[in-house]
């Protein structure tokens, strides 16, 4: 496989959750949490998936890793469709794809020492012998800015920032190719958040990691990601290289999202696009372009016809009739 080839390729991915109702729990409709999403990530790149709550960005991450089954589409990891794999084949591939959560505390067993929690996966996958484990774990703890004495501590003895370091250490110890990080810095204070962002970047430079970084915070995403995808109600609205997308957002939703981020410069006066109303009910999304109910530029066509997610040059794609 060449360097330029995509490590992760997502094509037409769909994930529908049934809505059940009544005595017999009949399916009365679907929440289209992920509705025909396509994007790809090259080796060593960081793809930032942004969107507001209910946009389906976390479901994309979980569906890629087969933590929940897809409804349709394909997910290719290093050229192999993960959904074609048998359970034991998938299990062998798992160490190469790791997930980091917003709150690692809830994914740690409170009665297991941190060192054992990190080393567990190495043993499970037969990637290290019991005698090697301690050394490997200590290495990764140090790499993540923790100390050797943390090995024997319990999860409750760690602060929020340290717990996120543990979460990162636990993913890194398996020597993965792809890390999917779901809002990994959202629960942290600014001063700690900067430490963790720097850790993510440092690790990428050292190990050539590929990240899918899921976040609602555009300033963090801009800082970390080389490519960005913007989701709204389960649909990809726009993708493109970071610099172009931030300098010249094409989709009205991307524009609104960027202009809504408060900037810590008091005198700065910005043109703000304030969106009307609320996110529509995802079980009953608007027809046509899903964004038309809140779009300040919507025309008649937007209400009737679903815009195609199409190539507009310069590695950029957008789903909008007006572009």
């Amino acid at each position: 496989m060449t360097e330029a080839q995509a490590l992760l390729e997502v094509n037409g991915l769909k994930k529908y959750f049934p809505i059940k109702s009544g005595l017999l729990s009949r399916t009365v409709g679907h929440v289209k949490a992920v509705d025909d999403i396509s994007f790809s990530i090259k080796r060593g790149e960081t793809f930032g998936l942004v969107g507001e709550s209910g946009s389906g960005k976390s479901t994309v991450g979980r569906t890629i890793l087969r933590l929940t089954d897809k409804t349709a589409g394909e997910v290719k990891f290093g050229g192999v469709d993960l959904y074609d794999l048998q359970p034991d084949e998938l299990r062998r591939l798992r160490p190469k794809m790791q997930l980091i959560f917003q709150d690692p505390y809830s994914s740690l067993n409170p009665r297991v020492r941190i060192g054992d929690a990190i080393g567990e996966a190495l043993l499970d996958h037969g990637l290290a012998s019991p005698t090697e484990v301690r050394g490997r774990v200590l290495d990764v703890l140090n790499a993540c800015g923790l100390s050797s004495y943390h090995f024997d501590r319990f999860p409750h003895e760690f602060s929020g920032g340290q717990r996120q370091r543990v979460g990162i250490a636990r993913a890194l110890v398996l020597n993965p190719d792809l890390i999917i990080a779901d809002e990994p810095v959202s629960a942290l204070d600014v001063s700690i958040q900067a430490q963790i962002i720097n850790l993510f970047r440092g690790m990428q430079e050292k190990q050539g990691l590929t990240y899918l970084f899921i976040s609602h915070d555009l300033s963090v995403v801009e800082h970390l990601c080389s490519h960005i995808g913007v989701m709204y109600l389960g649909t990809m609205m726009e993708t493109g290289p970071r610099d172009e997308l931030f300098r010249d957002p094409l989709h009205p939703y991307t524009k609104a999202l960027l202009s809504a981020v408060p900037v810590p410069i008091p005198k700065l006066k910005r043109e703000r696009i304030v969106l009307n109303g609320e996110l529509p009910n995802p079980a009953d999304p608007p027809p046509g372009c899903k964004f038309h109910t809140r779009c300040p530029f919507a025309v008649a066509r937007c209400r009737e016809e679903v815009p195609l997610f199409r190539d507009v040059g310069n590695d950029r794609k957008v789903a909008c009739h007006l572009v």
Partner: protein, 326 residues
């Protein structure tokens, strides 16, 4: 302009099994009429407990206001009895919280919850209160007001609930609104709507706002005056433009530098090393000293006090004391 709120030497302590936590430690601040004052700080800085102390919401027996004065319109709130405080709270001082879902009663209809303060404080009849409640729902930008009034909290989204909380808060035309992280749980596009609305109500009614937040972006957008807290102490305060352009305290500087800013990329973010100290292990010292790049001997043994640093700013830092001529 007169001060609506004056806090002097406020200390709020929590008695735990391991010892006393000085959550708020000798804090002073003023809010003038029609002004937005932001308290900014990270978790554990004492910013929310300061607000809770003003509202008399610090829960005993573990927590109590240990000393100081909280004057609202010249009346010391700490000297008032329960009933006297009730006539002010929710009426002249209103508060909104981060989690609107947990602040509303889940078994009461939205309209009834809006009517409650109107009947209690404004002595309105039920009929008049309902009419006003429906008007208020419209004023906070929600359409179908009648229908919403007859809904329960779980039927509304987080953004709508926060609008309802604001409607309840402004229903009695308070002089002071305390907003504790009002937009932290909301999406950015909804946050922009809510902040716009708060600003508009402030302009229209002349009320003051004490806004508590960890988000420096929100501070820059909303504040007239900023108070920076760290480990229960005020470390710096000043007019918003001066403080952002010329921060004095190493903590404020670090905080501003470590925040990624949209359209201003750096290769490596500045980060403040270490973490907030354990509140049980604080000794007389500058509480920031072990994270500070400019730490001197005196910082480890003596606590700096808040002093004038010129430019309308005040800062509690030994570095400042050296450079100001005595």
């Amino acid at each position: 302009m007169s001060n609506v709120l004056e806090i002097e030497h406020l200390s709020t302590h929590f008695h735990t099994e391991e010892g006393v936590v000085r959550a708020v430690d000798d804090v002073g601040l003023q809010v003038r009429q029609g002004e937005i004052v932001c308290i900014v700080g990270e978790s554990g800085s004492g910013k929310s407990i300061t607000a809770m102390s003003v509202m008399g919401l610090v829960e005993g027996p573990a927590g109590r206001v240990a000393g100081g004065r909280i004057a609202f319109d010249g009346i010391d709130l700490l000297k008032l009895g329960r009933n006297e405080l009730r006539t002010i709270r929710g009426n002249e001082i209103a508060m909104i919280f981060q989690e609107p879902m947990t602040s509303l009663n889940p078994v009461l209809k939205i309209g009834e919850q809006l009517m409650e303060p109107l009947i209690e404080h404004r002595k309105m009849s039920k009929k008049a209160a309902r009419k006003r409640a429906i008007e208020l729902i419209g004023e906070v930008g929600i359409s179908r007001a009648e229908q919403i009034a007859d809904s329960y909290p779980h039927e509304l989204s987080g953004g709508m609930l926060q609008r309802i909380m604001i409607a309840i808060a402004i229903s009695c035309e308070p002089k002071l609104l305390i907003a504790d992280e009002p937009t932290t749980a909301l999406d950015v596009t909804i946050q922009a709507q809510i902040l716009d609305m708060l600003r508009r109500f402030k302009e229209e009614s002349g009320m003051s706002i004490l806004l508590i937040t960890h988000d420096l972006g929100v501070v820059a957008e909303m504040a007239d005056y900023v108070v920076v807290m760290y480990a229960g102490k005020v470390v710096e305060e000043g007019e918003v433009v001066a403080l952002f352009e010329n921060p004095q305290h190493p903590y404020t500087k670090g905080l501003l530098k470590s925040k990624p800013i949209i359209n201003q990329r750096q290769d490596e973010l500045y980060s403040i090393p270490g973490q907030v100290p354990n509140p049980l292990e604080l000794t007389p010292s500058c509480y920031f000293h072990d994270r500070c790049a400019y730490c001197m001997d005196i910082c480890r043994t003596q606590q700096p006090v808040l002093k004038d640093a010129g430019n309308g700013q005040k800062v509690a830092c030994w570095l400042n004391e050296e450079v100001t001529p005595v």
